[in-house]
Amino acid sequence: MKKTKKITEEKDVMETLQIFPNARRYKTNLTKKYKNRKQWKRPDLQEIHSMIPGVVTSFSVELGSHVNKGDEIMIYEAMKMQNIIRAPFDGTIEKIFVKPGEKVPKGVVMIYLKSDVEFVYEDVDVDLSAIVPDPVV
């Protein structure tokens, strides 16, 4: 019988974690989930992703066609349902990355819908310096 030896070395290598800026650093083990975390990226809303694994049934539009919000773009079969994918905003079909009959995993960009108006990301920050009470006479 083959004997397997447990690898314990990995455990001894502790990593550091800081949870407040310019403050203490802690020596600790990190969880697998933490190490594999993904860096946040601002999503491009013009990319239309597959929401679940499925198969492209058909397109109701062509490359270059203009669509209005709510228009049917394509039929995407998943979980035995002919799901209708609709335009989330007014725009032009700039790219189509999949073809009818294609099996698609979850989260794949299927269509690039160029928006008629440019998306503006408003950053509405709050001035938290107000927490420090003003001197009141």
């Binding site: 929401m51 979980m79 799901n83 927490i131």
Partner: protein, 515 residues
């Protein structure tokens, strides 16, 4: 001037000064941010003239870091009682104009006081959150204050409805009070909720993100599921609060108010909504509207986990909680988020004696590595737990597909549904005909001269035999197979006969739901 009128005029002076909060410039700043001052919010939400304020003259207790001698009007929070559409409620509103609405010990004590009132008087509690967080100068006293609030939130949970309205920042530990309450209201561009802000995240992890993308109203309504109601303005948010309060009772031992019954609108033709082809999607909310009085449906968590729809409506004048699979989104599958969403809603309905009507049309649980690794077992179990635990009248209507584990989870007879009805289109089986035929007739299909033709024949055979409501009806798992147009009548009757429903369960301290 008599002594009495001098005393009264002193009171008026004191009142006038206190209600100015942080003063003109701070109020101007608040308005520039698109926000209303705390008292103005209360006035707009409550019935005119119904608000009575308490603890106006409270003074803060901090003696360190230059805080002594400083006057913080009402210590940054307004508390009181009043009415909304004639219904008594208790309310607190943090005042951002006073020291950024920061929470010191007296501020917390005021909130705790109004929470105690609400619990004792058995009236709903509304909390308007607009605060920069803990008042650092008050140190651990400020933390103690939060703890007192969280404890009361938990104590009151399931006794009185608790509504949290986020009308400004709600950061750090402060977020846990709303998280413990029943319904969280957010307003676009105004609400911000997070444990650690963008600055800390940037300097510790190097991740750059703005406040809105990190914890704005949209994020909590669409991605995290922390918020239940999304509004574009404070005024719209107040309307939502008023609507919600019409549907729910004031406490767990009071009944939700019944109103005069009305018929659904004629434009919702129930028999025309659901396509016969089980692969064709439709909006299940139209089915709900074809059933409810005046076709009114007040949806909860509309923007999150859209594959399940939950919300309130009325049948025959009385409030009903609806839980419905939504074929329009993700084919109506059950997954982690939709299970969490439905389970929480069911527990609210059960706690407040609101009957639950379940409309079922779902192909099963969503397959995939991400779902399994996200813990769909643990999350899905919450739904089973919530339905099994609920003792309010529970009625299920199977509209179309009811397969596998999903069939059991969606308030089946086996989880003690009081009534289960099915439409003639219903397919109740362990799995879809295609999958089932492939397994059961594997050998025949493989050995056939034309396996594809054989497969088709066997699928048809299976469909005929099992993809219908009559196998389950033969076992008594469903009570009646009904014509879709009879749905409202069956529900009306089922609700009325369940009025005195009594269920005895083994006594226990509490169950252990898979949190």
């Amino acid at each position: 001037m008599s002594l009495l009128s001098r005393k009264i005029s002193e009171l008026q002076d004191r009142r006038e000064k206190a209600v100015q909060g942080g003063g003109e410039s701070a109020i101007a700043k608040q308005i520039a941010m698109g926000k209303l001052p705390a008292r103005e919010r209360i006035n707009q939400l409550l019935d005119p003239g119904s608000f009575f304020e308490y603890d106006l003259f409270i003074e803060h207790e901090a003696r360190e870091f230059g805080m002594e001698g400083k006057n913080l009007a009402g210590d940054g929070v307004v508390i009181g009682t009043g009415t909304i559409n004639g219904k008594s409620i208790a309310i607190y509103a943090q005042d951002f104009t006073v020291a950024g609405g920061s929470l010191g010990s007296m501020h917390a004590r005021k909130i705790a006081k109004i929470m105690d009132y609400a619990l004792r008087m058995r009236i709903p509690l509304i909390g308007i959150n607009d605060s920069g967080g803990a008042r650092i100068q008050e140190g651990v006293n400020s933390l103690a204050g939060y703890g007192e609030i969280f404890f009361r939130n938990t104590l009151a949970s399931g006794v009185i409805p608790q509504l949290s309205v986020i009308l400004g920042p709600c950061a750090g530990g402060a977020v846990y009070s709303p998280a413990l309450t029943d319904f969280v209201f957010v307003v676009d561009k105004i609400s911000k909720m997070f444990i650690t802000g963008p600055e800390v995240i940037k300097s510790v992890l190097g991740e750059e993100i703005d406040m809105e993308s990190l914890g704005g109203a949209r994020v909590h309504s669409e991605i995290t599921g922390n918020a239940h109601f999304f509004a574009n303005s404070e005024a719209e948010c107040f309307t939502q609060i008023k609507t919600l309060l019409e549907y729910i009772p004031s406490c767990n031992e009071c009944k939700a108010e019944s109103i005069k019954p009305t018929e659904p609108l004629k434009k919702f033709k129930i028999e025309k909504i659901v396509p016969v082809d089980p692969t064709k999607p439709y909006d299940v909310r139209d089915v709900i509207k074809a059933i409810t009085d005046s076709s009114q449906f007040f949806e909860v968590q509309e923007m999150w986990a859209g594959n399940i729809v939950v919300g309130f409506g009325r049948i025959d004048g009385r409030t009903v909680g609806f839980v419905a699979n939504q074929p329009l989104v993700l084919a109506g599958v059950l997954d982690c988020d939709s299970s969490d969403k439905a389970a929480r809603f069911i527990r609210f309905c059960d706690a407040f004696e609101i009957p639950i009507v379940t409309l079922e049309d779902m192909p099963g649980y969503l397959p995939g590595v991400d779902q399994e690794h996200a813990g769909v077992i643990r999350h899905g179990a919450k739904l089973l737990y919530a339905y099994s635990e609920a003792t309010v009248p529970k009625i299920t209507v199977i509209l179309r597909k009811a397969y596998g584990g999903g069939y059991i989870a969606m308030n089946s007879r086996h989880l003690r549904a009081d009534f289960v009805f099915a439409w003639p289109l219903a397919e109740i089986a362990v799995m879809g005909p295609e999958g089932a035929a492939n397994i059961i007739f594997r050998k025949e299909i493989m050995e056939a001269e034309d396996p594809e033709a054989m497969r088709k024949q066997k699928v048809e055979e299976y469909k005929k035999k099992f993809a219908n409501p009559y196998v389950a009806a033969a076992k008594g798992y469903i009570d009646s197979v009904i014509d879709p147009t009879e749905t409202r009548n069956y529900l009306k009757h089922a609700l009325s006969v369940s009025d005195n429903k009594v269920v005895k369960r083994p006594s226990k301290k509490h169950g252990i739901p898979p949190f």
